[in-house]
Symmetry: D2
Subunit: 373 residues, 4 copies
Amino acid sequence: MASQKNDKRNSRLDQKGSGRRNFLKGTAAAAATGGVIMHELSHATPAAALEGAAPERAGFDPNRRRVATDLLGKSWWPSKWGAEDQAGASNHMGPVKTMEAVSRITTGTVYPIGRTYEAGMPLFGSRVFGMRIPGAPTGGVFGRNKIIWNDEFLATEIGQVGTQFDGLGHIGVEAGSAGDQNERRFYNGVPLSDMAGPYGLQKLGMEFVKPLFTPGVLIDVKGAQGGMLEGGTEITVADLEAALENQGLSGDAITPGDAVVIRTGWADLWMEDNARYNSGEPGIGVEAAEWLAEKDVCLVGADCWGIEVVPNPDADLAFPAHQILLTKHGIFLHENLLLDALADAGVWQFAYIFAPLPIKGATGSPGAPIAVA
Amino acid sequence: MASQKNDKRNSRLDQKGSGRRNFLKGTAAAAATGGVIMHELSHATPAAALEGAAPERAGFDPNRRRVATDLLGKSWWPSKWGAEDQAGASNHMGPVKTMEAVSRITTGTVYPIGRTYEAGMPLFGSRVFGMRIPGAPTGGVFGRNKIIWNDEFLATEIGQVGTQFDGLGHIGVEAGSAGDQNERRFYNGVPLSDMAGPYGLQKLGMEFVKPLFTPGVLIDVKGAQGGMLEGGTEITVADLEAALENQGLSGDAITPGDAVVIRTGWADLWMEDNARYNSGEPGIGVEAAEWLAEKDVCLVGADCWGIEVVPNPDADLAFPAHQILLTKHGIFLHENLLLDALADAGVWQFAYIFAPLPIKGATGSPGAPIAVA
Amino acid sequence: MASQKNDKRNSRLDQKGSGRRNFLKGTAAAAATGGVIMHELSHATPAAALEGAAPERAGFDPNRRRVATDLLGKSWWPSKWGAEDQAGASNHMGPVKTMEAVSRITTGTVYPIGRTYEAGMPLFGSRVFGMRIPGAPTGGVFGRNKIIWNDEFLATEIGQVGTQFDGLGHIGVEAGSAGDQNERRFYNGVPLSDMAGPYGLQKLGMEFVKPLFTPGVLIDVKGAQGGMLEGGTEITVADLEAALENQGLSGDAITPGDAVVIRTGWADLWMEDNARYNSGEPGIGVEAAEWLAEKDVCLVGADCWGIEVVPNPDADLAFPAHQILLTKHGIFLHENLLLDALADAGVWQFAYIFAPLPIKGATGSPGAPIAVA
Amino acid sequence: MASQKNDKRNSRLDQKGSGRRNFLKGTAAAAATGGVIMHELSHATPAAALEGAAPERAGFDPNRRRVATDLLGKSWWPSKWGAEDQAGASNHMGPVKTMEAVSRITTGTVYPIGRTYEAGMPLFGSRVFGMRIPGAPTGGVFGRNKIIWNDEFLATEIGQVGTQFDGLGHIGVEAGSAGDQNERRFYNGVPLSDMAGPYGLQKLGMEFVKPLFTPGVLIDVKGAQGGMLEGGTEITVADLEAALENQGLSGDAITPGDAVVIRTGWADLWMEDNARYNSGEPGIGVEAAEWLAEKDVCLVGADCWGIEVVPNPDADLAFPAHQILLTKHGIFLHENLLLDALADAGVWQFAYIFAPLPIKGATGSPGAPIAVA
């Protein structure tokens, strides 16, 4: 009966417009989906979660854990920024990067590259976006000047809806033996038990991130490939280099501390076909994530919801690029960007300016990033 | 008995740490305070609301309405930006202002001038700030890479707590006869009935505001006067000019489209004495607001919660500078800034960069403004 | 362009699983639907809102307003409970009704007739249901006894989701000329301007409603008609009487102050087909509402979301039974009940026990009503 | 510097009206307080948390853990209701108890014994209560009948504010070695890892609790002792028996499955002196909790915020009665009741009726319990 109940719940989720489950069936990556389902699976034994994975995959042998650990390597902390660091790749920021970025500003054109936040936007998993205007008006009438005013009230995963900047407290790894809750680690090896708090993270919150004012590079993979990439398409290093070449650039255009944003075309589905938008995405995989990490960038952004390929071609991996970039290297992610105007104008290099909301203990930030050329 | 009840409620508010009522007793400006009280007074007849006002004040004569109207003048709409405009003074933005601002950047130093958002910050009226981390972790464990993640959930007046940018839908005026709900107007004369919506403003929402990238000028009144101004101290045009002179500048340093931020010192009380912080503030009055409006700036900010003197020296006025700047001229306000680092460094002119959150139908925006020099 | 925008928004709503719009096309009742759409239409002129109504209907002639007024009659206030009353039909409650109800309890069987509140339940319009568990655990570890605890955080229209009890501040009427915001009235003629408040209604809030402990009567129309009624099916007085007769009862079984609950079968769609559940419903119409009002009951409940037929057979009427019962007579509504166990057991008469949450200034109440036999 | 920060934060909490910290200084029970502080302490080592405890107390020796375990005993699960049970002491409910309760109803008088929920009520720790009315009105104008409506939106720890019913998922114990997150247990031994979920508890949620309709007994300790008990006063078994005797009853009046509610008088401080209300409370201790557990009641309620003495006379214990009653025995707690009307009327025995909100995965329930005599 419990399983009937779950079936019912799942079908409800499907009604909500998410076909996201389909690509996950029978694979370990089934776990890599949103909300209620995610949670249900989180309590499954690993074997159960992976049930049905194709035998030719590394599968269920005792080496799996080793492989998992190998994704991040043996000693991914302390970070290059020091054992106490909580600012990650925003430590690149400083006068030098600022002035490099300023040198990219030649015409004074400001391109907003963030989305409008609104009730109909696609949301990941079980997140909600509730906005209310209390009263109409909220305050007044007061004084001889008869003032009135309106406020707005929001109830939402503010840093993890719409255009979102993932902070260092967002993504971690269960680093110990299966099910051991005592060995959960985030950036710089911070244990979850040191960070967790019901009213905000105690460490790695957004208040530690420095404002980003740095050179930005757009890699227009959509443009290079002639149209929107399909969901589940991995963008390789070769794809990135080809796109750069198509723009008259090379990988050398990316220097340490830069912000790199990738156009996949997936943005075309935003509020046009939310179900498909959420059902997967094109994006970078492990290879490109490591290449970008080697480039020592401060941020990787994209015009899709998770910057990386979903489902991952290795069906046993769930969001591995998140772990490589955020958890291991402290490199921030910027999701649900809108890069069309930049691409249409052929603006490949610019100043990338984004100052995250310093919400104490938050895992991410909303905001309105701008590219200035 | 009803009045007993009210007394009890008021005493509760006082317990919450707000002495804000004290300065309001027996004056029209009693209305100019937060939350529940505000609402209760909003239904009082004007006479009742003003009960006890000192007779030597302009007071209660039939001309009062005329005076109220006179604050904004007879024809404050259509706006100079056109009858359909919803972007207000952000229309100043464009390549010219951007490049002017860029020319202010010489060292590449980025000054964050916004506050951290956190549970203990002073809140106006009945606003709340609730932040929760769902689960710990929120998601996972998934995949062979054993990913986990955290989200944050906020329930709050997001655009009207902490460092806040007031949008055009925030402040209006009851322009008709007393109690007439059909004549409530906002910027560009937009009737409240056209704007109001339970799930977001239908007009004048934050999504219409252009990102600000413009020259900024700091006017350090605290510095000029040798310390924090007291609550209820009106900053006059002479004060502003004296402070500019003290900085080696004059009013000519302010050009159309610039952002002007004023340091009063009131910020010293933030989270040190929230009750006093909320109990009033120093700031500009009607005179300086009109001077700044003539300067045609795009934004007026300050290191206090409402940028203007509270209580107003004319006890019958409630937040008149808000109406002059926002409602009449479409000039944005930026409240609860932190300007100490700028002043300490003697940075009086800089690039002011702030891209408001484009939350559809919101009245204001949180964010992390930066001054770059 | 504005209309394109609307089209896009509407299609989004449809994606959310609501086919509710379909039955509304081209009729005045098009207005009678949820959330964003509702609001958009609320600003349409009456003519526009009614565009396309069939000419054979009363239509657009000047008499329409008269008809509207006629629904509630000329002088529907003061209420029978006095001009200052805020408790409506809960004034029936008292020792007499309690003891009548007690006399219905013979076996001691308690039937819960409310729904479980959960994320997948159908929601009306733009309402949301967000629940989060802060941390895991929320508190602890403390003391030698090493206590830990969990809380839950909800963000939702708490009184208007799931099983919901509509209070007197929920439903009103624009009683003046078209668009006149100064003549909006609720139960007992209370003007909206006296009630409205951003942080809770100032009058007619749930705190005034007395706990209901009264005889209850189930009218099993589904049982009498052999299955679930279709959406848009009006339940007439004849239908109610036939169902009562089928149960061996008559209309005389209903005495003043009783609670009447009606089984339509629409409950079968709950979380099985939310889109259809929200797309309309069977229920009483104007005739049966007036009959129940004459019976002087304290409450009308049903196993559907709005207790009344939607769309109304008179396509120009939007939720008229709500106005007749709540606004005019102060009779409460109880929606989204689950009456199957009662019907299966043939329990037609029982003690109806429900004590609404006394949330100050709320429009409705969640809760777990019970029928005891 | 970290400690300075904490000092500042603490002083902020004090500003909010909580002197709660004072009684906790230098004791293990320092942990037994709200919100941010609670969390900070939760990461302290036990030694640090207990620092300063008086040497004459059992203190810091290795036997402490044994004592902790001893509070709940060695084998407190499976529960008497079965290893899979999630309903706890509500399993007592059934026709027998219902009819026993009905026999207590003689006059038909209904006493509401819950509080009104409102913004000024005292809140524990960092919980918030935010209520907003979206728009005014929220919906309409629609139809020829020109309907309008209001909703309310709440953002709050709904089951843990105001009158609150603690469910089985609320209170647990860290049962393993210090800091071991893998051995956290709740009622029936359910591991936290099986229950935890970001969007609701996966086990022991409120949806499993049966409606309570059972004989109730009021123990008026305030009445017996001639006035409000002081905070920190432990109510002993002798006190309970004396109060019962004073009422002409004895402990035999309590039979298995009954609801017992205790009047301490602490309710007098509600919204009169919230700071003092939150600063501690009189209530039962370990002895009386065990006595009530032996009586096999279904519920223990009181007119204070936590039903038990705070601080506990054994300063190393934090809310031990919660663990004894809820965690070990599955006996529910009902907090912040208002028992004055019952006591004034000398109604010592009655039907206790409360059907908790079946919010799926919630830890507690708001509601309006009634006592019927």
